[in-house]
Assembly symmetry: C2
Homo-oligomer: 720 residues x 2
């Protein structure tokens, strides 16, 4: 055999095996969609179950499914299943009953699968064992194809399958806080992936890979631009740019939405008002919606941040949030669009507890919104803190659909260099019981619509995606994107199995890796709580960038911008009294919850200082006084990170060198910064409490003034 | 053979062949350092010449050479040469005479190779045919290793080699106009590759790959931060960050430099003056230099933009540029550092022709600078226009080393989406004859020090590198980085062979590709001149972003910010009179050059309107009047881009789909924007000239007001 022929053979072989040089450069771009060879003990069975591909009638979406199945199977089992239109042993049939007569002939009941769910079923046809991936739509089929590949990625059997899954939430959307100049507010993964300058002409592979990744975890919408919106996003050139993305995302089952600046009629419409009851304003929005839908027939709708943090809104004209939202809802309703109206508001003039304001503003509006409005509520009442009690609005607006807004990007959790798996945070919120319809009225059941029978349901995640090669600024931050998708698909999903499967898909199936690293992930968010804001403390981050500690900050223009407003520490004690003797924010919860939070005997200690101002010598369940407990909790946070480093060091043999090194470096940064958080916080709180550190605790190595003097003018994420 | 063994064999095979899936995803990250399999007709000979690697004593730099040779040879000839310490047929010996006794024994004369040059010699040792790559330093050996690989990449023989090459310029540096918040002034390739937030801890592979790419074209220095400098860059935390980069770059032979803000003693030093003659200021800079050199022992020195465009400088204290530069020079001199002092100045108060000001400011200072100061002069007297006559300072300061400043990033040449190969621009400048020591006194001979015997020589390139996956924002912009490196190594280098070899290394050796695409590249910059600023017009770009045409702009605060200042068009004619009847800028050139430019009979038509104000009916060499010529030249520019698109379409079979598609898209954008440039310019100039378009020319499709009304508030590169 001549050298050239030998070369050609090797090239072909390498294609089938999966390119090892690529595997050698594990830079994170592949996310959880890596398809390394399956273990030898499984590969034989997998090959038998994936000998051929029998697609339904071709469509762009089916083509994507075919590409993905080919890519995945080729990588994992070393053979590209042959495309075919007849059934043989090991055939994978995929398509809808409408697009595949073979599948139609099986009479599969898809009544509960909706427009996006899927079934994966092992069947026998004409004496042949086959796998059927089917759904009511091609997008459902695509979801099923990803699920089938996931089974192999996670070393599960693919015989005797009887899997059915349909999303429990209708709108599963990413919110990109991306500006037109490509800065990303609270983004720590480089700049915006949207290169508005070269859109609509240039749509790099990156954009398709973004859609592919989202589709693989069931995300079905994306709000392209920052909620602190720029009216330019609604001008013709930018609509054309958004349309190019919508065209690209459509076959992946992903709709495009835009954040709308409420004052756009003035800024780009030439009107002198944006009053939602003004007919000209209403007509302007209707015309604008028509214009958008001409370019993007399946445009999802608008996301609006109004009358919050300086954004314009209906209250500028003495109208309610409902009146503002309904005007936009009327504009998109003829096209099937929705309005996602954010409840994250606090007023410039309102002196009351900031934690109460969204509830006070929105609860009275229950029932006043149009059917195609959904109110988007952050998980907690302040602002994406490492821990917050669930937002009291959940369950409190029975006649209004509420959607969850989680933050995937780690604005307050150490940016991209701190490892904090947010699955436990999401689960903690979703599994919180609002008691609004008695026991079991969990937030999850508000979000999935079960509690009040909502058909319009949704979950939003503030994206952590940027131009960084690994998408999210760190390898482990990919897990937060992933778990958001999983929990949006079904809010009853638990964090731990998602961590496990993400690790398997992203790194390795080796139990010696998955076991300890799952534990590391599961404890990681609690570590951040401990070293930043333990025992219910919150909003102690330094001004503006939210990077590093600033519990001493007390000189900002508005009281609720200052950390001292939130911790209320003085010589006598610490904590924000939100009981009846204080702001009485607890009263916004259903009675059983309010009672539990209001009573020192029943309030969870993790929320203690969120709801109560207590003396430094308050006796904790541990028997220690509060001051000692606080100090030891800070210390425990640092120790947790040290333990995470040890765990990670122990798995070096199991994974690739590049990702191992990067994670190691980031964990080292995290440990140093955890110490900084502890030391700065203790130096400050000790200056208030005037109490000695418990025995054995290392005192801060620097005086308080040192920590106060640190500045970070170029910390990322300010969006400027 | 079991499946697992078969798999292992295939994996190993794939490593040797070069991974085809990687080749399939040609995203540009590999730059010109791609190593696809050599043609079968050459591979045999290459394999015989590269059977083994015999390195000199190991060092970080030799290790890099080993890695590169292994990577390159494995890719190109399908075999990893075995490391060895004995000589056999096909051995490659690489090292210095000091590090390799085998090489020392050959008695090779390296006297002219300096500290960075290399020799590649075919030799016979003990009856074995070997290749010797040697130099006076390990970095020289590394340069030789890249050159050896280049021979194979470009399908050249590697037998009977007798290659010697040493750089003709000492400082070959990139200037990064990168800000601490990761914006890049005039950057069109994403954000800064320097992630200051995670430095010094995290040094991703990207940084090593940056150094590797630069070393491969002979670049030996990098100024990390914007010339519009931030004093924070000189604080301890940022020095530590720069030191981490310096440590990484050192084995590649690349030194780190910093832009220094002249007022740093005030801003970060607590002084109340930055007067260069003030002893406290001098002491502060000396201490600062000492601090930097403790962290970076081979720190290159400072780059300074002073008293220009609002930057602070010595003139704030009524001191000269020389006094300012010398103070800094004294601070770094004990450590062997240099000061690169920019001559790009124009005064806020100076009403004279902006083109004259740098010369007027600097020429009188000749001889007043310290030995370790080099004055950095842009290629032309205005500002990186598509075409400028060479800067009159070149050759005019015989007692002062001058270094060239080219712009690699395309601030005024259509950003990243316009294809403009800048090799011809660089060559045109370098081959311009200043006549300052008679005929043959080319700019190249000023820059390489030959004309005046300078030993301190340099060439700076304003980098086009950013966080984009393909480094430069487009595949063809990589060529501008490449040709800059080549011409910095030797200013006598010509643009065409560099284009050819870059295409071979980056895309394909196929003559059916290289031939037409070389032609396309060679004509591409002239096309931009034609559709933007033909016949010596300049600075007609719209305000601020420099994207798109703005010849009508006349309302900016300072006259020399307005395009109307530069074109001087009125009903009678057009052009800037820089002869004795006008600003007399021509008098800054040596007499023969001045006479040639001043005389309408001898001035090159490409520079006509740079030097002369002429009537619309001025007769051109073509026989046409100026107006018609102007219109037809604009038209020709558009036609050139259309022809470029045709050329590119014709080579589709020769290259990979991904890069083909991206370049095609960008060329389509370029053609549309070339038309926009032509149409807007003609609409405007016709409104001034009131003359009809020549027959056959398509009139602008929109009225002038349309073009005036276009705004691009989010065009990239403003650095804000």
């Amino acid at each position: 055999m001549g050298y050239a022929r030998w070369l050609i053979l090797l090239v072909i072989a390498a294609i089938f095996v999966g390119a090892p040089r690529m595997a050698a450069a594990e830079d994170g771009y592949e996310l959880w969609l890596r398809y390394p060879p399956a273990e030898a003990s499984l590969a034989g069975g997998y090959r038998n179950a994936a000998r051929g591909l029998v697609p339904g009638e071709n469509s762009p979406t089916i083509q994507i499914a075919t590409t993905e199945l080919t890519r995945g199977l080729t990588g994992m089992i070393g053979q590209a299943p042959a495309p075919s239109d007849t059934v043989a042993d090991g055939a994978i049939l995929y398509g809808t009953p409408a697009s595949s007569p073979l599948i139609a002939g099986l009479g599969i009941d898809l009544a509960d699968m909706g427009s996006e769910g899927y079934a994966i079923l092992s069947r026998r046809i004409d004496g042949h064992d086959v796998t059927v991936i089917t759904a009511n739509s091609d997008v459902g089929v695509l979801h099923g194809a990803f699920e089938f590949l996931r089974l192999m990625q996670t070393a599960q059997p693919v015989r005797d399958l009887d899997i059915r899954s349909a999303p429990k939430v209708r709108l599963r959307v990413l919110n990109h806080w991306d500006n037109l100049n490509r800065t990303v507010e609270r983004g720590y993964a480089g700049q915006s992936i949207w290169d508005w300058q070269t859109l609509p002409d240039f749509t790099p592979v990156l954009y398709s890979d973004y859609a592919r990744a989202n589709a693989s975890v069931g995300i079905n919408g994306t709000v392209l631009n920052n909620v602190n919106a720029n009216a330019q996003s609604l001008t013709a050139p930018y609509i054309a740019k958004a349309a190019a993305l919508a065209d690209l995302f459509r076959p992946y089952g992903i709709r495009v939405y835009l954040s709308a600046r409420f004052s756009s009629p003035i800024e780009i419409g030439g009107l002198d008002t944006a009053d939602p009851l003004n007919p000209q304003v209403q007509a302007w929005w209707k015309a604008k919606a028509d214009e958008i839908y001409r370019a993007i027939p399946d445009f999802g709708g608008f996301l609006v941040k109004a009358n919050s943090e300086g954004q314009p809104g209906p209250q500028d004209y003495h109208r309610t949030h409902a009146e503002g939202a309904n005007m936009l809802a009327d504009a998109v309703a003829p096209h099937g669009g929705v309005v996602m109206w954010r409840a994250f508001v606090y007023s410039h003039e309102q002196p009351d507890d900031r934690a109460k304001q969204a509830f006070d503003e929105f609860a009275p509006l229950d029932g006043q919104f149009r059917d195609n409005v959904i109110v988007q509520v952050k998980n907690g009442a302040i602002d994406f803190q490492p821990r917050e009690p669930f937002h009291p609005l959940f369950g409190a607006m029975p006649q209004t659909p509420l959607m969850m807004e989680f933050q995937i990007t780690k604005e307050y959790l150490g940016f991209n260099t701190h490892l904090a798996y947010l699955g436990p945070l999401y689960e903690e919120t979703l599994q919180s019981d609002t008691y609004q319809r008695g026991r079991g009225s969990t937030v999850a059941r508000v979000v999935n619509g079960a509690l009040f029978g909502d058909t319009l349901t949704g979950m939003a995640g503030v994206a952590n995606i940027g131009s960084d090669r690994n998408w999210s600024g760190s390898h482990f931050d990919q897990a937060n994107w992933y778990v958001f998708g999983r929990m949006a698909w079904n809010p009853e999903t638990r964090a731990r199995p998602v961590a496990e499967e993400w690790l398997q898909r992203t790194f390795s199936n080796d139990p010696a890796f998955v076991g300890p690293v799952t534990e590391m992930m599961m404890g990681s968010r609690e570590a951040v709580v401990d070293y930043m804001t333990p025992l219910g403390l919150h909003h102690l981050m330094d001004t503006g960038h939210h990077y590093g500690p600033g519990p001493w900050v007390d000189d900002l223009a508005r009281p609720e911008w200052n950390p001292t407003y939130y911790h209320q520490a003085d010589a006598g004690g610490i904590g924000f009294d939100r009981t009846a003797t204080g702001s009485n924010a607890v009263a916004q919860y259903a009675a059983p919850v309010a009672a539990r939070f209001a009573d020192l005997a029943t309030v969870p200690e993790q929320d203690l200082l969120w709801f109560h101002h207590v003396p430094w010598d308050y006796r904790m369940k541990s028997g220690r006084d509060l001051w000692d407990e606080l100090v030891l909790t800070y210390d425990r946070g640092v120790a947790s990170v040290a333990a995470m480093r040890q765990t990670w060091a122990s798995v070096e043999p199991q994974i690739d060198a590049q990702r191992f090194a990067e994670v190691s470096t980031f964990l080292a940064i995290q440990e140093r910064e955890a110490k900084w958080w502890r030391d700065a916080s203790l130096a400050y709180f000790q200056s208030i409490s005037n109490r000695p550190l418990p025995e054995g605790v290392t005192p801060p190595p620097e005086p308080l003034e040192y920590y106060k003097g640190l500045t970070f003018p170029y910390a990322p994420g300010n969006g400027a």
